[in-house]
């Protein structure tokens, strides 16, 4: 009955690893972008890497979906896993979207303290990504532990949320034009969206576990 299960797990985990690599590459882009002495060539090289990795993640998503469809899992489980893979892919899409829409159009010069907070958001998001990866792995091994891990992923999102609010508060007090404030706000919100996307992955896992609780 449970034909092709190991293949399904491998593809989902491979997809997750590619999304994690995309996010790591994105964090390098961000580091470079936040530098005052921006190296454009290096930045473009890193941005290309984000695109390439996101493209690979897309391909792997297709392969994972195919393997889920052709497995002998219960139909409900197939739907849930496809939704999970889709949400995981959403994380890489968010990172790519920042590269496409923010970095390409302007070099935002954040003040020093805000740069620190942005870097902190990125650090927490990377930790959240690692927790999400562990959570998905646990989903296949121990539903109870997967649920606990999902709680951790949610906690990281709350931390990012707090930093996002603090940054927006500082932005409000910052003496720049309203138009500039919107550009900076857009960047901060988009960055925090990655953490929200990871929280969405955790929500899917929580739902999968909840349905299976007697």
């Amino acid at each position: 009955m449970i034909g092709g299960i190991s293949k399904v797990v491998k593809r989902i985990m491979d997809h997750l690893s590619l999304v994690e690599k995309t996010l790591e590459a994105f964090s390098e882009v961000l580091k470079q972008y936040l530098k005052e002495d921006l190296d454009i060539d290096e930045l473009q090289g890193l941005m290309k890497l984000v695109h390439d990795l996101e493209g690979q993640a897309d391909d792997m998503q297709e392969e994972a979906t195919e393997s889920i469809m052709h497995s002998r899992l219960l139909p409900e489980t197939k739907v849930e896993l496809m939704r999970l893979v889709d949400r995981i892919d959403g994380v890489a899409n968010k990172a790519e979207s920042i590269v496409d829409h923010v970095f390409l159009f302007a070099h935002l010069q954040f003040p020093e303290d805000m740069r620190g907070q942005i870097a902190e958001i990125m650090d927490i998001t990377l930790k959240q990504m690692a927790a999400a990866k562990e959570m998905v792995k646990l989903l296949f091994e121990d539903l109870k532990k997967a649920k606990e891990k999902a709680g951790e992923v949610d906690d990281f999102e709350s931390q990012v949320d707090g930093l996002e609010r603090a940054l927006i508060g500082e932005l409000r007090r910052w003496d720049v034009s309203l138009a500039e404030k919107y550009v900076y706000l857009n960047f901060i919100e988009k960055l925090a969206d990655i953490s929200d996307a990871l929280e969405d992955v955790a929500s899917v896992v929580e739902q999968i576990v909840a349905i299976r609780q007697i």
Partner: protein, 319 residues
């Protein structure tokens, strides 16, 4: 015109076989409906399982029901033919009209109706039969209530990870379906062949074998649509509660096969659904459901009885 010997000997069985086929098409949904409607188990697997296990159940444990139905009074093979035909017509007409119907209750009504006209009726077994009918949904409800708790530690043992759950549900639905098919054959074969065995038209072994096969063939040839329709009603429950309901239905029906009274698998399912409803704190008893069950107990045997009485009267006139 001289009637050929084979027709004289085996012709009466035709209405029983038709009744078995109709029973198989309808009742297959009560054992594999959930699994097929959710596409957990392919229809062919379910159909073949019912064919095999309903036949095995009928052959191994169908005889007690033959005895109970036989106690209602003496009859000839052609009396048996008309009784089974009246029951089959009742089931067909009521199904067509969308009314709740049970083959077990139709055949008893038909036996009583025909027996009353023929003057061969013995109502002594009726008390045991009626008590069994009423006990079926109640018993299934109680069993499903306790099964819900009993299965919990077992499912937790197997369902640590996501795929353990899938395995448990798949094997649970397959095995409970197989057991349900076995119980269906053991219990309901008496509806199909009981009157013929009693009339001496066929031996108990061959009656059980042919009856079981006719039920299985009904499920295999025409059960898919009913499984998908009826199954969806059960699917609204979670996979675990659906599993509990099917298992409770199978245990109840098997119990009454041992007691020797054919009962309604549909009413056992309703009882099971109400039982898990109590555990989950959901009230699944509505007036319509209660009406359907009571109609099954009273309306079905009455209609079948009247029809069989008319047929028996006409046959007596023709003689």
């Amino acid at each position: 015109m001289k009637v050929p010997l084979w027709l004289k000997n085996y012709g009466p069985l035709s209405s029983g076989l038709y009744l078995g086929w109709a029973l198989g098409t309808n009742d297959a949904a009560n054992v594999f409906g959930t699994a097929v409607a959710t596409r957990v188990i392919p229809f062919l697997w379910a159909g073949v399982s019912i064919l095999i296990f309903a036949t095995i159940g009928a052959v191994l444990e169908g005889y007690a029901g033959f005895e109970t139905l036989g106690k209602f009074g003496a009859m000839t093979p052609w009396d048996a033919f008309f009784i089974a035909l009246s029951a089959a017509l009742t089931v067909t007409i009521m199904t067509y009209l969308g009314l709740p119907v049970s083959t077990s209750q139709a055949i008893v009504g038909a036996i009583i109706g025909a027996g009353a006209v023929n003057g061969t009726l013995n109502l002594a077994p009726l008390g045991k039969v009626v008590v069994s009918w009423i006990s079926t949904p109640i018993g299934a409800g109680i069993i499903s209530f306790f099964l819900y708790f009993l299965l919990e530690p077992i499912i937790k043992m197997f369902t640590k990870g996501l795929f353990g759950w899938d395995k448990f549900i798949f094997w649970g639905l397959l095995l409970s379906g197989i057991y349900g098919a076995y119980s269906l054959g053991a219990n309901n074969v008496a509806n199909v062949m009981g009157v013929f065995v009693h009339a001496g038209a066929i031996s108990p072994f061959w009656g059980a074998l042919l009856g079981g096969l006719s039920i299985g063939l009904g499920a295999l040839t025409y059960g898919k649509k009913v499984m998908e329709t009826v199954g969806e009603g059960i699917v609204r429950l979670s996979p675990y509660t659906a599993l509990v309901v099917v298992l409770a239905e199978a245990i109840t029906v098997h119990f009454f096969a041992i007691v020797g009274v054919p009962v309604s698998t549909s009413q056992a399912v309703v009882g099971g659904v109400i039982g898990v409803g109590f555990v989950e704190g959901v009230n699944r008893i509505d007036r319509q459901t209660v009406k359907k069950i009571i109609f099954g107990w009273v309306g079905t045997p009455t209609i079948a009885g009247i029809l069989a009485a008319i047929v028996a009267f006409l046959v007596a006139l023709a003689k």
